[in-house]
């Protein structure tokens, strides 16, 4: 699964730590999602989408092999 988290963060101008605080996870979790090492649960994906006020699909998308 791909994501545009890093870009969305840059647009909103918030750090990994800010985002982590807002959704109540650790900073390392945001980092592993951004580097495609960890696929977040639906709950976490929805929370992230809510922070950026966008639908989940515009941040997370399937890639070949998923």
């Amino acid at each position: 699964m791909k994501n545009t988290l890093r870009i969305e963060r840059a647009i909103k101008n918030i750090t990994q730590a800010d985002l982590a605080d807002q959704i109540g996870v650790s900073r390392q979790t945001i980092n592993t999602i951004e580097s495609n090492k960890y696929v977040p649960s639906t709950v976490l994906a929805l929370k992230i989408a809510r922070v950026f006020e966008k639908p989940v699909e515009s941040i997370f998308s399937l890639e070949e092999g998923d």
Binding site: Q16, A20, G24, V25, S26, R27, Q28, T29, N31, T32, I33, Y38, P40, S41, V43, L44
Partner: protein, 150 residues
């Protein structure tokens, strides 16, 4: 995400203290060759002495095991400061990893060690899964935090 069956974060320090007490106890008993806690005239089912003569039982090894296992369990299963789903996944993967490694070592010992020495291996095997788990989990956390801090 709610993580169940975990101790509060600040218990981890207590876990280290309990473990240290256990290790210090073992070190002291080994070094001085003394028995510290002895229950005189114990009548137990195991020794079939409920009706017969009583025995003097040294409880040092029981207490040492209690301290070691309790300490390791608390260290292994206390929450991180922020315990989330990703960390829960790391935790489970480390646990699986620890079980694999533990049994691999055990199988090697099964064919490499015989006699009374094997009894020692079997005894250590009570705590090795916890030790391997703690090392593996802490190593993964250290690696990830290093990346984040960079």
């Amino acid at each position: 995400m709610k993580s169940r069956f975990l101790f509060p974060h600040n218990w981890r320090l207590a876990g280290y203290v309990i473990l240290f007490i256990g290790l210090a106890f073992i070190g002291y008993a080994k070094f001085t060759q003394t028995e510290v806690f002895i229950w005189h005239n114990l009548r137990s089912f195991e020794s079939q002495s409920i009706t017969g003569p009583s025995i003097n039982e040294c409880f040092d090894d029981e207490l040492q095991s209690l301290f070691l296992i309790t300490g390791l369990i608390v260290i292994a299963f206390s929450k991180e400061r922020i315990e989330d789903e990703h960390i829960a996944q790391l935790r489970l993967e480390s646990l699986q990893w620890a079980i694999y490694i533990n049994y691999a070592i055990f199988l090697i010992c099964l064919f490499a060690v015989y006699g009374i020495n094997f009894f020692g291996i079997a005894l250590y095997n009570v705590i090795t899964p916890l030790i391997i788990f703690i090392i593996r989990f802490r190593w993964l956390m250290y690696q990830e935090r290093k990346v984040v801090a960079a």
